[in-house]
Symmetry: C2
Subunit: 297 residues, 2 copies
């Protein structure tokens, strides 16, 4: 991923803001009765996090749900933060996990991935990549691919998720012996495997979400999707450590983007000796060094 | 579904507005360069559709993608329309197909399904039901169930979709001989099968999306999920007719909600002899009569 070498490691800080967990100096007693005030508080917090981590990490991921909760003021904050992160030179993954068919998928691709072209929304940049759900099949992915191809963006299809319940469907065995997740992986490898979709890095614009808590699955999925970048959530708070994420990389130490959210974002709760921004920065640096050392960069 | 008997048939009109297809008298030359103007135009159109169909159909479904395309002004229009539809006595399905884990799922449940409690957003009602994607497993569904249980709302899990590409994953055969969609159906039947989740109607608050274009699958899925209401998109423009949707019903003619979007919403394009609202109303009435007659109500 662009910027990973310069900044030391292919890591991503997840912005999943939760009002109740914000530092009191940011929250100022905002209790969520006003959507606009709540959106402003999480915007201020995330803006501070972006400034704190931008010099040290290549990428951030914004969790759309945390913003949608505050209706349209939250959605505005989400788009403003995407723009702000891009201005700071960060790669931005929009974690919205959208999935629909036909013209609905086209609309999601236009609203959640494409560069905005509106004349009345102020300065706005779109994200570099979007997470999508492939349960509806290839024709639900194609409209997103169209935008990604035209605008040089990326996609991460949910293949193997980090939550305990992910097994229920993703680990079911198919009649040919493969788990369901491998069939989704094969769809990703096929759809994004054309020469035109492979960039200078050797990786496709079509990536995959593979949870850090499933190392055995990651090793198998790495072979099925050699050209896909893995977005790997679940590092840190969800229990995945540096050894667990190693199978997500190709042998040359490339091909994965390791994501931590809560362990970095709310680091100030456990590190009260320093300013909250410093605590977040320190946690990001610690994660960077762990991953850098683990993959041997 | 509540209101279906009074209004003659269990049908749902899908609001999937597309700016370029609006009647010129509503669109007034708006070309999409202004997100606020585009959101206003689709709001005005949908508001007219709601008024036209409310006396004749029990339910509407709003396609979130069509509104999210216009960023936060679109999202505001979406929420205003949900409130307006509820005021008109319509049941409202929010078709947002959300799916995530843990606290992200809680945030989606709060923002996309729950009754809004904000003091600064004006009069707002939440939808009666939400579509969700179950690829991430039961723990991605539970947070939505919590809200549905507490607030008397419903959910429709994507089980078998109406698009051609849906087969790629949903029709794969598992080692026990079932297709993948049947495993998702079993998860729905189990999760929503508790006595407390079954309403007076005999149906669970946890329903399923089953496309109108897959009648053979629908018959099988009906047996797996006898207590789930099926939300059946794909009637009309997507090729599913009244015979195709009959297997979605239980033997007593209940248990399915048949949805048409484009064939009703844009009926004025083919019926230019009357006002656009009348054309939409006529198409809704025609669909109502077809379904009513087909299921023998």
């Amino acid at each position: 991923m662009q910027g990973s070498r310069e900044k030391g490691a292919p890591i991503c800080v997840g912005l999943d803001p939760v009002l109740e967990k914000l530092p009191e100096e940011v929250r100022h007693g905002v209790d969520g009765r006003s959507a606009a005030d709540a959106a402003q508080a999480i915007y201020t917090f995330c803006s501070g996090v972006l400034a704190a981590v931008a010099p040290y990490v290549p990428c951030v991921k914004l969790q759309s749900a945390c913003f949608e909760r505050y209706l349209w003021p939250g959605v505005e904050a989400y788009h403003r933060l995407i723009d702000e992160a891009r201005e700071l030179g960060l790669l931005v993954v929009a974690d919205a996990k959208r999935g629909d068919i036909g013209i609905s998928a086209e609309h999601y691709a236009a609203g959640c991935l494409a560069e905005p072209t509106y004349e009345d929304m102020g300065e706005l940049a779109g994200p570099d990549a979007l997470t999508i759900n492939g349960y509806l099949g290839a024709d639900s992915i194609e409209p997103f691919l169209d935008v990604a191809r035209k605008q040089g963006k990326g996609l991460f299809v949910l293949v193997r998720t980090s939550n305990p319940g992910g097994d229920a469907l993703q680990s079911l065995t198919l009649s040919d012996g493969r788990p369901v997740s491998d069939a989704v992986a094969q769809m990703v490898a096929t759809l994004g495997g054309g020469a035109a979709d492979i960039g200078e890095s050797g990786y496709s614009l079509l990536g995959a979400v593979v949870g850090a808590t499933k190392p055995a699955d990651a090793a198998r999925l790495r072979l099925i999707m050699p050209r896909s970048i893995f977005l790997v959530p679940g590092y840190g708070a969800q229990g995945g450590g540096v050894k667990d994420v190693l199978p997500c990389f190709n042998k040359d130490g490339t091909g994965a983007l390791i994501t931590a959210s809560r362990s970095v974002l709310f680091a100030f709760a456990k590190n009260t000796q320093v300013d909250w921004r410093s605590a977040v920065r320190e946690a990001a640096l610690q994660m960077r060094d762990e991953v850098k050392s683990g993959i041997g960069w």
